[in-house]
Symmetry: C2
Subunit: 323 residues, 2 copies
């Protein structure tokens, strides 16, 4: 059962402090960089990682000011990767807002991403923890490596191992980094740090699987992008993988299993239609629920508090969202 809960005023104030801190990173630099950062941050986003950091850190008694710095560092790292991602994909919209690359030159977009990476690293250093910096930089290596894999190796790849590696690199690694660094900055045991790291991992995996399901089953007007976009780009995700298991003789599936990329629009449309109507969607949701359940188990021992209730709520709702 999912509890109904509203955000704690203290956490909301924390999120506002994070927004402000992120925005001021370009204050002493080129005015165009400042505008770009402002534009990127104004397009919003769920700020789910900052919320997790502020909630978990409060539960674990970390210093509030340090948590705000950490949350800003992690969210800016995420923002920087999106800037370069959208450039690489030639994406025109993100969350319904024009991407930077759709308005600026490639050169300016590359540099803005670089500047945001540097700002994120600078904030991470301001947590005054070498361990945090190590997790931070290793995570960036993992994320970028995943993107390189996706560019060179993952297209039309029907390997389950490739899929799990990909969603780890793309999403779970940063959730894991968020909860791991939060615990590093908290007065808790190494054992608890590892549990909190794993909590972020499980939650991040659940989160990305739900994203991948929504790519098939979401309402286009809510998700903000066309249904089946991943498959159209040659990206095989969990619903497709379950569909392959149950429908090895489907025409599109046969092509994919032969190592081909689908290039016929009708084949792709039919395949997307079949997947949406199949049990593959429910199987994928079940799997996301298993990840979320493991995530919940890992935080079950945390002391009862309104913060814990909200963290549990956020973990539960991460798999029942519509976008």
């Amino acid at each position: 059962m999912i509890s109904t809960i509203t955000t704690l005023p203290e956490i909301q104030a924390g999120i506002e402090a994070v927004e402000k801190l992120m925005l001021t990173q370009a204050d002493e630099y080129n005015g165009d960089l400042k505008s770009a950062l402002s534009l990127l941050l104004s397009s919003g986003g769920k700020r789910i990682r900052p919320r997790i950091i502020l909630l978990l850190g409060s539960i674990l008694n970390a210093n509030q000011e340090t948590l705000i710095i950490l949350a800003s560092a992690i969210e800016l790292l995420h923002t920087a990767t999106l800037v370069h991602d959208d450039l690489i994909d030639g994406a025109v919209l993100r969350r319904g807002v024009a991407t930077l690359n759709s308005k600026w030159s490639a050169a300016a977009t590359v540099l803005t991403g670089d500047f945001i990476f540097a700002s994120a690293a600078n904030l991470a250093a301001k947590t005054n923890s070498v361990e945090v910096m190590k997790v931070f930089s290793t995570t960036l290596m993992t994320i970028v490596n995943g993107e390189v894999n996706q560019l060179f190796n993952s297209r039309c790849n029907t390997s389950k191992a490739d899929y799990y590696q990909r969603i780890y690199a793309k999403t779970a690694s940063l959730f894991e980094a968020a909860t791991h660094t939060t615990s590093i900055l908290s007065p808790v045991s190494a054992l608890d740090r590892d549990r909190m790291r794993r909590y972020g991992y499980e939650l991040g995996m659940a989160f990305q699987i739900v994203d991948d399901v929504l790519d098939y089953s979401g309402e286009q007007s809510v998700v903000g992008k066309p249904v089946g976009g991943d498959l159209r780009q040659g990206l095989v995700t969990l619903p497709m993988l379950y569909f392959i298991d149950s429908n090895p003789n489907n025409d599109g599936v046969k092509e994919l299993l032969q190592g081909k990329c689908l290039d016929n629009d009708e084949t792709i449309d039919n395949l997307i239609h079949s997947i949406v109507a199949s049990s593959a969607i429910e199987q994928s949701i079940n799997e996301a629920e298993q990840f979320a359940k493991r995530a919940l188990d890992l935080i079950s021992d945390l002391p009862a508090s309104p913060h814990k209730d909200e963290l549990v709520y956020l973990t539960e709702t991460s798999i029942v969202r519509k976008k």
Copy 2:
């Protein structure tokens, strides 16, 4: 008078360790990333920053292993900025070797640069110094901000202030970071740290001015790029600034002073020819010598040793090189 000196075997061994450490950063990642890194590092370069770090750190009694990590971090940061720079400029060759962007897609080039940034940050974190991380990330912000300025504001800009800011961001900031972080990792006083930071600054400014002079007076076959390339790209550097002072009525100068970019090849060719034949070259070299002299003064109190001799030699020769 410039001493003649050969590299100390210990420093040469250190440079080889730096090369090896840089190269292994992609070992556990995508094979194409590893190839790209290997290609980038094989094109060589003077490795002047690593040499300065190893020499200065030895004089200041820093831990050798930490110095090798730091030198690798700083050189990889430099390498990453070059990767994105060459992409932005559409450069085909660097040091006579094909650039990554000339062989790979823009997407792969962006990601390779990002990966090298992340590796550099990861190595910087491995120095286990939060102060080093702060200098490192702030320097990256300065460098990228300088590139954004150059993209948006510096074209055909005849302001001396703009020039000095530009060469600080482009070159001196990383020299300064190299000597500053070396001193941070050494058992020396805050006063000495500041002196060493300033040593890097002065040396870096001298170094870039010499680069800018070579762009006019260097032999194309030695420098590896056409004479006057900066001006052809709308970049006003010190020789041009001195020439403007003495020749306000030159046709090209008049256009520039009116805020125009030169677009007539003949005007540009004539201007380059006039600058090369003028005293502007010598005036610029004199200015580089003043920076180098201040740099030498800042290290004059360091105890006599073969390492100091080599550091002095390297500082002196930074302004008499041919490429």
